[in-house]
Point group: C2
Chain length 407, copies 2
Amino acid sequence: METIKIKEEFLNQAVMLSRGAEVLPGGIEELAIKLQKSKEENKPLRIKLGMDPSRPDLHLGHTVVLRKIKQFQDFGHKIILIVGGATAMIGDPSGKSDTRPSLTKEQVDSNAKTYFEQISKVIDVNKAEICNNADWLYNLTFPDMLKLASKITVAQLMTRDDFAKRYAENKPIAVHEFFYPLMQAYDSVVIDADIELGGTDQRFNTLLGREIQSAYGKKYPQMVMLLPLLEGTDGIVKMSKSFPEHCISLTDSPKDMYGKLMSISDGLIVKYFALLTDISNEELNSIEEKLKTENPRDLKMKLAFTITEMYCGRTAAKEAEENFVKVVQNKEIPDDIPEIKITEDITLIDFISNFDKSLSRSDIKRLAASGALKINSEKQTNPAYLITNSMIPVIVQYGKRKYIKGV
Amino acid sequence: METIKIKEEFLNQAVMLSRGAEVLPGGIEELAIKLQKSKEENKPLRIKLGMDPSRPDLHLGHTVVLRKIKQFQDFGHKIILIVGGATAMIGDPSGKSDTRPSLTKEQVDSNAKTYFEQISKVIDVNKAEICNNADWLYNLTFPDMLKLASKITVAQLMTRDDFAKRYAENKPIAVHEFFYPLMQAYDSVVIDADIELGGTDQRFNTLLGREIQSAYGKKYPQMVMLLPLLEGTDGIVKMSKSFPEHCISLTDSPKDMYGKLMSISDGLIVKYFALLTDISNEELNSIEEKLKTENPRDLKMKLAFTITEMYCGRTAAKEAEENFVKVVQNKEIPDDIPEIKITEDITLIDFISNFDKSLSRSDIKRLAASGALKINSEKQTNPAYLITNSMIPVIVQYGKRKYIKGV
């Protein structure tokens, strides 16, 4: 690290930017130096964020990094959003993995469009540079590829957790898999990144970006900021579309967003405030204090309102709050339940499934098994339970906040 | 292996072709089936041999494989000679190795020309297909490369001896090194090889060629024939230009070739006959028998004459034999020693070095240390020994068969 007098202003910025993040290498001070130099040389920092176009739907977990990116943007730095088109279009050439389907250029473009629409709720997409790494990776020649591969050793790649684990367990690692981190690292060379942001699961890949930049001659290679992975509302596993009950999408209705936020475990309140809202460090401390004495429900309502307002606006957040108080806290059934005509006997699972296409039949069976299906407020664990004409009008509840009326 | 009736003719061919070779997988029988099918379908087999254009000078060690190739050619099969231009032109992109300098296209072409001139002493180059793998490897796109790399796992590559050893010893293996065997293997796909020949040190690479062909959908992937590495005249290490005293080049003078062959250790006689000459298996057995009772010198003279005749013609071989008998066996100094005028005092090393540019000063020092320098038939171990005018005429001998007369 260089000996340089760091100005208060940039140290403060660095502290703010580092909230919740791990800053590598060198931590806050080195970040402050980078910020100061950028200002002195009138050269905005180039902040890199990669996106996976095979999964375009955003949830609150994604916003942790995006909000950090936004902070850099607010300080006048340049955001570079990289659509990982090369990887997505190649898919898994070994054909072994279902999780890496190969996408056409059209699918990538369409997914990227959806993605950018959603992230524009967090950052100013118009001020960002947007690029697709297929544009440069597809133009790499054979000698280019070998040159890239020559910059890293097998042993170094083997230190990546998943490679190390699979190798130790004698599970196959195809050689092309080595190229995924290398491609991502090479992106940093091409876009000349000064800082790369990512989740803590991107530690290896982002630091490799720094190393490959050095190998290609960049004097001040990128720093890395790693943000924690946000747990889903259950507080147990990483928020993910694979667990829709615990996942809060940016496209959720205000009512759902508010309701899901109210369902988080108390232990998540401070973390959600810290990573998902703009409250100051002082407020954050005061919330931590209050949690020791006050009812966490009130703080959760503040959290739910704040976040719902951010993505859906004040009016919708207000309505969602009122609905929540009425339905959940006062156990009332809401007024605006959709009504479905029952013309013949129908199983509970068919009734729900016909109405709500977002749930698969196995989702509904899981809800039944976990006691989350109710008929006229009584639990019903058998999804094949028959709803007959004689029961009309009947109110079916599934999950915490969803109702259908059979008429 | 298929159940197929193998005809005597092809079994005999297979036996002949397999002399001295390891045939993988399936051995002689599978080779016989391949030969028979080729005949039945009137489709000559495609026999692959790769060459390293960074080392264009051929010695007898190289002819072991080339002679085998020639046998296939004589049976009507197609020889495909691949100049490894891609590798040679890339060199070592990590820049760490002195042994993999990168060559220009011109150097590759010029080396290939020298190489083909020399191998035309063994095979009919005009009937062979000659190609340069730069022509296809340089055209590989990024997805092509990933596809190729996806066909093999890290663990498989790690079974290659040198990789395994270096990994175990914590010595770095750069990722691009994985591509060298893959490139060679991919060559087999492109040229659609049925059989690849190589030295036993090429076991991994050639078998990888077979595997990659399968992965790319070839129904009957290539068989592999591995030929032993020929020891140099000392019978200890592999014949190589790095040990010129024990290396017999195809461009050696008939006298040198004959003389060096006479210097081989007795244990090599049968192996040299088997791998370097056309004698029948019956003759070979008879030589083995004779070695038990007769003076090996006579058999060595037969060997030396046979091989010298092959590469230099009958007359030159005859002269070389006569010279050998005169100089070495009868310890006479030959008649035709080059004469050098000595105008002022000169050290022994300068005297030899000025005359014979093929030897470096350290070569000469090594000869001195090993007692191979003589002045007027007396050993002189000091290379700085001063030859003065008063000694004229003086005969300097270096190595076993080289003389200069100072006059």
